[in-house]
Amino acid sequence: MLERIKHMRSRTRSNLITYGIVIGFYVAVELLTAVDLLSSAFIGQLVPICAYVMLAISLNLTVGFLGELSLGHAGFMSIGAFAGVSFWVATQGRIPAWLGVLCALIIGAVCAGIFGLLIGVPVLRLEGDYLAIVTLAFGQIIVNVINALYIGIDSRGIHISLRDAASLGLAEGGKVIINGAMGITNIPKASTFTLGIVLVVLTLAVVLNLIHSRAGRAITAIRDNEIAAQSVGINLTKYKLMAFITSAVFAGMAGVLYALNFTSLVSRRFDYNTSITILMFVVLGGMGSIRGSIIAAAVLTVLPELMRSFGVESYRMLIYAIVLIAMMLFNSAPAAIEWRKKMAKKLSAAVAARKKPARSGSGKGAA
């Protein structure tokens, strides 16, 4: 078995490690929960962590592999969340819970995907910072419109208003589903850590397969040199859209997972800051590194909460900002990269120097 792993293509091995990390995390958490060693705070964050990991992976597809900066990922998350949760709330008690959750996830993913297509077709013609600003604008539009959106359901069907709940004109026994700024309240929670991990693995499977397929190579070719890619006959629009829509679909699904972990859902939750947070996961984890996205999303979600335990409550966000800047500088500054390389070299030299006498002394190889 070990032999086989050794001889695997390095890519397959790398993928296995990525899956391994996710499964390993799951097993570790389940074991530690079983023996009651995890803090409630950490357990409470498990579902959000899964959702953020999905968001980071899906955004990495757009930013890391397609090479387009998107500042509106939370918009897709929001669409998915509101679509899926509306269905979930509207069908409460009419269909079995597992079916409801499944449909909610699919509906959320599909709706976000449709918006991905609608936005993607015109927008992907733009380049660089302009695309970034349009996605930012899209995110703001979603927040604003859903804040003003009232949807109710009664025996006559679905009613929509942009004014207030009263103008929905609901018949007796009707139910307001989305109540403007109040959003959706009294959502029966349905997300579990297991569901989260299943969805993370699903996201991973789809995204990794896409990246390593013919389409994936076309996508990275577009990132590396759009003109060259076009000149060898790669259909730019098709592959750009493929990446963008896949990214939106999983953002929508993550939105449903996230929203079903809370009792209420408000539009403001998915504002510009949330998009930026997800982008941070991707950039800090390393653009184009799926594994990096997973780890960064998990660590950066836990980090601000962790700081509570240090008794630095009021300085929490300040420290978070400083850590962010420091990590960016350490991670991406050419000088820092140079320095790290030098240190690594020194370190390995030192290790080698120490190993030598040890080896000659004991006569046994340490490797």
Binding site: L126, I133, V134, N147, Y320, A321, L324, P334
Partner: protein, 293 residues
């Protein structure tokens, strides 16, 4: 008459966006980076003017000069510490760092000056202009905002086109490598750009809060985003474009509030932005950069 009044309100708001957008566009045009912390530098500038002028009783011009000096120092320090080491790094890395700086300034201000809002006294003492027998008033702030905007725009254009440091800026903007080979000190030029951008931020902060007096640590955030879209709207990197984009954005925002819906006015503003970018992808006055293989 109501239409005119709404239009004037839009110009007033737009001139504030334009002032902020000028800073964005300077930095973007020359350093090729989106300085997301610009809105928060504005907030810092406004706080300094608040403490020197509103509660300190200094002369408004002196207060603004102090704020400009302080913001220049802040901007140059930020550039030196957080952005310069990343000069050769991918642009996204710089963007995230800028977001980190933005968080840092907001939360620093929160700790330093508390979350309690402050009421800003207008630095402008120009009396409102009354037209049509008092049916239409143009607030003094609006007049000053527009005038300051025009002066700064003209000043910046002259500076960039007719002075040696200005030429250096243009060269750095065109091709950083080539500029360096020609003996231009790229770091100094970019520092200068940040110094100018941040000094403008102080002015923008003072005028923003003179028109809209509530000052909080989050005050710069939303106008920052709007001004950023205004800069893109006008063609980012273009100085007249920032002015045009800012004013148009303000007018569109106000008219859509007045005649379409106040509830979804933000959505309309951003929708217009998207449509314009789709029709003219480089913004209104932006230059198209042709990429050659």
């Amino acid at each position: 008459m109501q239409f005119l009044s709404n239009l004037i309100g839009g110009v007033s708001l737009g001139s504030v966006y334009a002032l902020i957008a000028l800073g964005y566009t300077m930095v973007y045009g020359i350093a090729r980076m989106l300085n997301f912390a610009h809105g928060d530098v504005i907030m810092v500038g406004a706080y300094i003017v608040f403490f020197t002028f509103c509660s300190g009783g200094m002369h408004p011009l002196l207060a603004i000069l102090i704020a400009m000096a302080a913001c220049t120092l802040l901007g140059v320090t930020i550039e030196r510490v957080a952005y310069r080491p990343l000069r050769e790094a991918p642009s996204l890395a710089v963007l995230i760092t800028a977001i980190g700086v933005s968080y840092l300034l907001q939360n620093g201000a929160l700790l330093l000056w508390s979350a309690n809002p402050r009421a800003f006294t207008s630095v402008v003492s120009v009396s409102p202009i009354s037209l049509f027998g008092g049916q239409l008033t143009i607030p003094g702030n609006t007049v000053i905002n527009v005038a300051v905007c025009l002066v700064i725009m003209v000043g910046l254009t002259l500076f960039v086109n007719h002075t040696t440091p200005g030429h250096a800026m243009q060269a750095v903007s065109e091709d950083r490598g080539a500029a360096q080979l020609m003996g231009i000190n790229v770091n100094a030029t970019i520092s200068l750009t940040f110094a100018i951008g941040s000094a403008l931020a102080a002015v923008a902060g003072a005028l923003l809060c003179s028109s809209y007096p509530m000052l909080q640590p989050t005050t710069g955030a939303m106008p920052g985003i709007k001004a950023f879209t205004a800069a893109v709207f006008g063609g980012i990197g273009s100085i007249p474009g920032a002015l045009l984009g800012g004013i148009l954005l303000g007018v569109i925002e106000n008219l859509s509030k007045a005649y379409i819906s106040t509830q979804v006015s933000d959505a309309i503003v951003f929708l217009v932005l998207i449509v314009i970018l789709l029709i003219k992808p480089t913004g209104l006055l932006g230059k198209r950069r042709v990429v050659k293989v």
